[in-house]
């Protein structure tokens, strides 16, 4: 299993998936740093009381689009990891080896999973450094938020890995991105639902979270971050906007997301063990 995990990680590096995504993250952080520096100078001049609110919003916006990058990395890294290896014949030499097929899938999950968690954690911590050091705003302890942020791509990875065991690479890419889009749009609809007090919109958001819980985990991440600033009189303002979280996704949603991920991974292992190659 570790042999497959190691070769999976090596593949992501050698095929330049990881270096290119790191470069994209550096560009993204550079742009964000520039904006934070400009705003910081502005606030120094005006001593604006909304400084913390604005930087909190920028931080959540940074996380929101950062989660886009890690989610795309999860999908594009794993989209053809089984299907394309079957299509091009690589798998023909691997499967007959004395290794259980489910271990091949688990190895790929672990290899990509470690890469995604390290990448997501790096991005999260870099965003924190940008806001704290350049913006001059103290963000409270974010351990729980960091863990939740790293969990998002792992969910997408499990689903994409499941798809690649029985769908073609192209079909799997379409399905995985469509599911991600459902989650993102559903999350926005839910936020609007809270804003306009529409129960049906809120329920729509919850249903989409059940279909793909990635956005719910993002909202939970933001809520955890904002809760740590509850003593701030402008806390309610911080929760607003498309990147905020008006209501905390329950702990059951976390449990559901965990089971969802384990279920997708288990299904991937089962399907690959049964299929003809």
């Amino acid at each position: 299993m570790w042999t497959i995990a190691a070769i999976t990680f090596k593949e992501a590096y050698r095929r330049r998936i990881l270096p290119v995504t790191v470069l994209a993250a550096v560009l993204y952080l550079g742009l964000l740093s520039f904006a934070v520096r400009m705003l910081s100078r502005q606030f120094e001049l005006t001593m604006d009381p909304f400084k913390e609110v604005v930087f909190s919003q920028i931080f959540t916006m940074g996380l929101y689009f950062g989660s886009f990058i890690v989610s795309f990395l999860a999908v594009f890294a794993a989209v053809g990891t089984v299907s394309s290896e079957i299509e091009n014949g690589t798998m023909l030499a691997v499967v007959p080896r004395p290794i259980r097929r489910w271990k091949i899938v688990l190895g790929k999950f672990v290899g990509f999973g470690i890469m995604l968690v390290v990448y997501a954690a790096g991005l999260f911590l870099a965003l924190t450094v940008v806001i704290e050091r350049i913006g001059g705003v103290d963000l409270p302890s974010q351990g729980a938020a960091l863990v939740l942020f790293c969990f998002q791509p792992v969910i997408l990875l499990a689903v994409t890995l499941c798809g690649t065991t029985f769908l073609s690479t192209m079909a799997n890419g379409v399905v995985a991105l469509a599911l991600y889009a459902v989650a993102v749009v559903g999350g926005m609809i839910e936020q609007i639902g809270y804003l306009v007090q529409s129960t049906s919109l809120q329920i729509t958001g919850i249903i989409t979270s059940l279909i793909m819980p990635v956005d719910a985990i993002y909202r939970k991440t933001v809520y955890v971050l904002m809760q740590s600033q509850i003593q701030n009189p402008l806390h309610a303002v911080m929760e607003m906007g498309p990147f905020g979280a008006h209501a905390e996704p329950s702990v059951w949603m976390l449990v559901y997301a965990g089971l969802y991920t384990a279920g997708a991974l288990g299904l991937a292992m089962y399907l690959f063990s049964r299929r003809d190659i």
Binding site: E11, G89, T90, A93, P96, R97, P98, D276
Partner: protein
């Protein structure tokens, strides 16, 4: 002799048709076994079942005395697929190290195994190059190295010489013979009948998913013999007489081509011709080649020869 492969009515059906049907074969240890058939006959399907890439629809099989898919048996199997492609972003050495690790060879046993395999396929000195820079022939060789890497007792080679030039083919033949000398069993899928004829002890021919002939080369080719005779004075009475000992013969002017059941029929035929007043100027016996047999079997509509009993003990 130990049976290395034993299949019992092994069948694979696809939604579009049958891959292979009711295959009953047994292969002895230490043999080079040739598995022949035209494209789409079911050769690769059969091998893929034996190496656990496909699951059979029905039937059973044992490989190295263990049921299909057994991990301890898979440790002792090497496989070179036909439509293979290796991770082109790896170097040859990295690829072999990866496969050594998959075979459970630790670093200690893995390194010498990699070096030995590279040496055997003639890629020593090229192991640091990326596989994407390898020629087709070199890729075939690295595939061969992968197959023999873990010192397997049974090696499946699916068209191992298809991308090689004549020198490369000869080298692969030498590797196959070396494996045999080391007591290994080689199961060879190939279109190249002359090569099969050169190295194989036993062969089976598959057509439309079914075995149509199986046995040792001596059994399959040694029985019948074709004789070309130059003679004069061939009369219709003589031809009628020849029908009794050689139902298959052809007369072209003063040349007569006769297929006899065995070489002991030659003196009988000569006596018959001279008894009818024929004058023989030359007589050339010609052994049938595997290609002759193959073409005959594949072109024949009805399966009859050698398959009275569906089990083929080889």
């Amino acid at each position: 002799m130990n049976k290395v492969i034993e299949t019992d009515n092994l069948t694979k059906k696809y939604p579009a048709g049958v891959g292979c049907s009711e295959i009953c074969l047994s292969v002895n240890e230490g043999q080079i076994f040739g598995f022949l058939g035209p494209n789409g006959a079911g050769k690769s399907t059969f091998v893929k079942i034996l190496v656990s890439l496909l699951k059979p629809t029905s039937g059973a099989a044992q490989v190295l005395g263990r049921p299909l898919g057994d991990l301890s048996a898979r440790r002792r199997i090497g496989f070179l697929p036909e439509q293979f492609r290796y991770q082109e972003w790896l170097t040859g050495e990295e690829l072999l190290s990866f496969h050594a690790s998959l075979c459970g060879l630790g670093r200690h046993a893995g390194r010498p195994a990699v070096a030995r395999a590279l040496e055997m396929v003639g890629l020593r000195g090229r192991e640091r190059g990326k596989i994407r820079t390898y020629s087709k022939g070199m890729q075939q060789r690295i595939g061969m190295a992968c197959a023999i890497l873990a010192d397997p007792d049974l090696v499946f080679l699916d068209e191992p010489t298809s991308a090689l030039d004549p020198i490369g083919r000869r080298e692969v033949r030498e590797i196959i013979l070396q494996l045999k000398q080391a007591g290994k069993t080689v199961f060879l899928n190939s279109h190249l009948l002359s090569e099969v004829e050169m190295v194989c002890d036993e062969v089976a021919v598959i057509k439309a998913g079914r075995i149509v002939a199986a046995g040792s080369l001596a059994q399959l080719l040694g029985g019948q013999i074709e004789v070309e005779i130059q003679a004069e004075g061939l009369t219709p009475e003589l031809e009628a007489g020849l029908n009794g000992i050689a139902p298959l013969f052809r007369v072209e002017g003063n040349r007569l081509r006769v297929r006899l059941a065995d070489r002991e029929q030659i003196p009988r035929m000569v006596a018959l011709i001279t008894a009818h007043g024929g004058r023989i100027y030359s007589l050339v016996p010609r052994q049938r080649s595997l290609e002759d047999l193959f073409v005959e079997l594949i072109e024949r509509r009805e399966v009859s020869q050698g398959v009275d009993d569906r089990r083929h003990h080889l």
